[in-house]
Point group: C2
DNA sequence: TCCAGTGATGAGACTTGGTCCCATCACCGT
DNA sequence: ACGGTGATGGGACCAAGTCTCATCACTGGA
């Protein structure tokens, strides 16, 4: 038997997403979120740096991508390593059971500039993590940055499609998007 | 004779940059900024949406880039259009006399996460503006996105170098960065 | 010359995000 | 039974941001 109801951060995130979807980000106070989770404002800020972070806390995506790039065979090209990173994301992060949650979360973010800013910075961090992981493999600086940017673009495109089309597997969508990106370069 | 001291937004931006550089973003209140500009908090928020925006207000860079892309010859490839956009940026935005200001501004932004978030979102807006301008030219969607991302990456690289090396012309740096990016794609 | 209109500014109340400190509570091991 | 530990609650406090109303300086017309 736990001392308190367990998983306070999870409960707060769930409550926050619900409330943001119901009445909007600006019309939801931190106290509202905490109350719905059966907690208080103090506890909220003990678990999350600020109000925005409650929608971004659980993500270990940067480490996942970087790990997959590091684990790619030494003979793999940068783009091949990035492809493996996106496969890993599809297997461990963007799983089918999280599609609905991701879609709701994305629509909430799209509706509020404050959340878009946080999302934009997290996106830059993802690209930076991939760039660093590629550099660790000995890929030259500019080449690493290009491969990471193209990978990030393919991920964005795949993410949009994965959320829009219920049936699709993320890894598959990402591979297809990356192919399209590479085809576009040729033109 | 003007009714009041003119250029309130400019004075506020100048005061803000000075104070952020002197004592840090977090240790500077909006009232401090307004006081140094000879104004009040009310007037500050009349000119700027929030405290962060005081460092980002004057920028018309998105329109500048989009305009240059739209104005490129119909025969120009996407990358050529993007190259012209960066030339335009070098001529009208990143002029030599603004280098020192840009360097200070950049160091302030780099020191505070809140400002980095705003900067990240503005960066996405730049890429989106270039993407839209390319689509207007009839460039297919994915091709437009790729060209805009590569252009944005080259701009980032050129901007870093332009700020670091006093002697360099931005347009020249951008063209060189874009060449490096294109060369990296081949590998 | 006087006066009303206009537009930018000032003043201050108010809500909320975020920080901080301290008290409290539930469980643990001894 | 008892003290330690760690998460929580409570509330004071400051700064960001909103809102409303008053004020001020100049403009243009009677």
């Amino acid at each position: 038997m736990a001392r308190w109801e367990p998983n306070a951060p999870e409960r707060l995130s769930k409550a926050a997403l619900e409330l943001f979807a119901e009445r909007g980000y600006e019309n939801t106070t931190v106290i509202d979120i905490a109350r719905r989770a059966g907690l208080t404002k103090s506890t909220f800020f003990r678990h999350f740096q600020d109000k925005r972070e409650v929608l971004f806390g659980g993500s270990t995506l940067a480490g996942l991508l970087a790990g997959a790039i590091a684990a790619a065979p030494a003979t793999a090209t940068p783009i091949e390593a990035v492809t493996q990173a996106m496969d890993a994301a599809g297997r461990k992060a963007f799983t089918p059971d999280r599609r609905e949650f991701s879609a709701l979360r994305r629509s909430v973010i799209a509706a509020h500039a404050e959340l878009q800013e946080r999302d934009a910075l997290k996106g830059l961090a993802l690209t930076a993590a991939m760039t660093d992981a590629l550099r660790e493999r000995g890929v030259p600086d500019v080449t690493a940055r290009v491969a990471a940017e193209l990978g990030a673009l393919a991920m964005k495109i795949a993410y949009e499609r994965w959320i829009a089309a219920a049936a699709e597997d993320f890894g598959e969508a990402a591979r297809r998007a990356l192919d399209e990106v590479r085809a576009a370069i040729a033109s």
